[in-house]
């Protein structure tokens, strides 16, 4: 942990009681994000990445049980009094959800939704808040920002709505922005624009960012560090270039291979990962990925591999037969 670590997630566990038994959505996750850094969190649907973001924000469902520590700016968010937590949210800690059609209130104007955040945290008067809102909308690339204030979310296109959501998130100059699948609900052509916008604003404000996605292509080149999650655990964690060049987890390798490539021949079949993620209410004894892993041996099904670091301390993985090292061992 370095001195300018802004967020430190330590041993966070999220349990959800369900009629079919206890569901461990997040299984002892450890992460850090430095000020001004971008962390990418990658994984399939259901791997726990959204639950993790909710855990950090303390927005879990009522029934969920949360344990561990979430240190943000020197304070443990789990121990913080509700009123203090509320003041942090929106101000120092902001979030952008996946689908702007559902995350923006359909019966309130864009202006209201922007201005209320400004007035709540920065206590601006009406005129200043309006001016600020127009500036924010312009900054995120929305044309004719003054008119937008009186419009409703359904009057804007998907990409515009997400820009508004980003404007709301950035309005109080947060130290950390959590973007939970910000482009998944958008057209492919808009996706790059939104991601570029996020990256640009982050650099400008020297903001830390957590970019959550199921698409490895999204984090390539836009993040400093990547954590790969599977079945509620972080299974690989490395600086981004290292992850892409020297991945260790068979899962990561399979994820990368499943991405369509421009230089592949036409009609090349996409190698999908066979099988499905395990049922979270019935966790496997051994490695969660072992039923689908082509390198799996007996040990993988019995023991859970811990997160260890080979070579460089920054590159961690949870595997008994990591790629690269395994090959080097000559088997």
């Amino acid at each position: 942990m370095t001195e300018n670590t802004l967020l430190s997630v330590e041993d966070v566990v999220v349990d959800l009681p369900t009629p079919r038994g206890n569901l461990r959505a997040v299984d002892r996750v450890n992460l850090t994000v430095g000020a001004g850094q971008t962390l990418g969190v990658v994984g399939e649907s259901g791997c726990g990445k959204t639950m993790l973001s909710r855990a950090i924000l303390q927005l879990l469902p009522k029934k969920a049980k949360l344990s561990g520590r979430v240190m943000f700016d020197g304070q443990d968010l789990l121990q913080l009094a509700p009123e203090k937590l509320r003041k942090l949210r929106g101000r120092s800690l902001a979030v952008v959800f996946q689908d702007p059609m559902t995350s923006l209130n359909p019966v309130l104007t864009i202006g209201t939704q922007l201005i209320e955040t400004l007035q709540e945290h920065l206590e601006l008067d009406d005129a200043t808040a309006r001016k600020r809102s127009v500036e924010l909308l312009a900054a995120v690339g929305i044309p004719a920002p003054e008119q937008r204030l009186a419009q409703y979310p359904h009057q804007l296109s998907g990409g515009m709505r997400q820009r508004v959501a980003i404007a709301i998130a950035l309005s109080c100059e947060p130290k950390l922005l959590i973007a939970d699948e910000p482009t998944t609900a958008l057209d492919v052509t808009i996706q790059a624009q939104i991601l570029d916008l996020l990256a640009r604003e982050q650099r400008r404000r020297h903001m830390a960012m957590i970019l959550i996605t199921h698409d490895l292509g999204v984090v390539a080149g836009r993040t400093d560090e990547v954590a790969v999650m599977y079945a509620g655990r972080v299974v690989e964690r490395a600086p981004t270039p290292a992850l892409f060049k020297k991945m260790r987890m068979p899962y990561t390798e399979a994820l990368l291979a499943a991405l369509p490539r421009l230089d592949a021949a036409p009609h090349t079949p996409l190698p999908a990962i066979s099988g499905r993620p395990p049922d979270p209410t019935r966790p496997l004894q051994g490695c969660s990925f072992s039923p689908r892993c082509r390198y799996a041996v007996a040990r993988c099904q019995v023991e859970k591999p811990p997160l260890t670091a080979a070579g460089s301390r920054e590159h961690q993985y949870a595997c008994f037969h990591p790629i690269g090292i395994h090959a080097e061992a000559g088997a």
Binding site: P19, P61, K62, K63, A81, P82, E83
Partner: protein, 290 residues
Amino acid sequence: MATLELEVAEEAVTQPARKGRRLGMLFWAGIVWLVFVCAVAVFATVLPLPSPTDMDMLERRAPFSAEHWLGTDGLGRDELARLIYGARISLVVGVCAPVIGVVIGGALGMLAGYFRGRFESLVVGSMDVLLAFPPLILALAVTAYLGQSIFNLTLILGALSVPAFMRVARAATLTLARREFVIAAQALGATHARILLRELLPNVMLPLLAFFLLGVAVIIVVEGSLSFLGLGVPPPISSWGSMIGEGRESLDMAPRLAFLPAAAMFLTVLSFNLVGDTLRALTDPRQGAL
């Protein structure tokens, strides 16, 4: 801090089960009361009761006694007997009217939902016109023109309940008609009648039954209101409503004359509502409380 804390609600999945458990005891209590009332009403003639019409002018508004378990009313008639015979009337109207409604409304609704097109528009449109009137006003108006009798009353209330049952049947049919078992039956060459009767009807019956019970509760209240005003069952026939209306005169002297039939009516209506609502929650868990 703020006293209102927001807690995200439970998943919808757990709702019906919880509701069932919570209403479990109440549900059975309702069933017990209904069975009791219906039994007593049906067997009224063979029960060892004094006649409900025998007036005893010397014993008017008498308190509870061994001879008159629940006392006597303003004309010296035995209150318990009156309550039981009143139950007969209230229940006869209360049950027969919705039967008319469910048979006609259910049939119309199923046909409308199945055949769609102009027939459906016609049915829905005419029901809407019927619904354009506040029902009590309509019932009052028609009884005024046709004259008061149990038959007329049952007929009118039954007719007024047709739109509600039509809607339920139509909604259920609309969702069911698209399901595979109907398409499969059509592919096998089944006639419309067969599909309607063999495939759709058994499935539509469940929500209709739930609404039927709720309808009984409503009709008992409407008939009670009309009789309370003197415009429902024709005197000297007494339903609970008329008894409450008469009891109103004696509120200062003997409030029990109004409140005994009131309690009976309340318990019966509550029981029908409880049982009907539980059944509805079981057959359509998405719909929740209304």
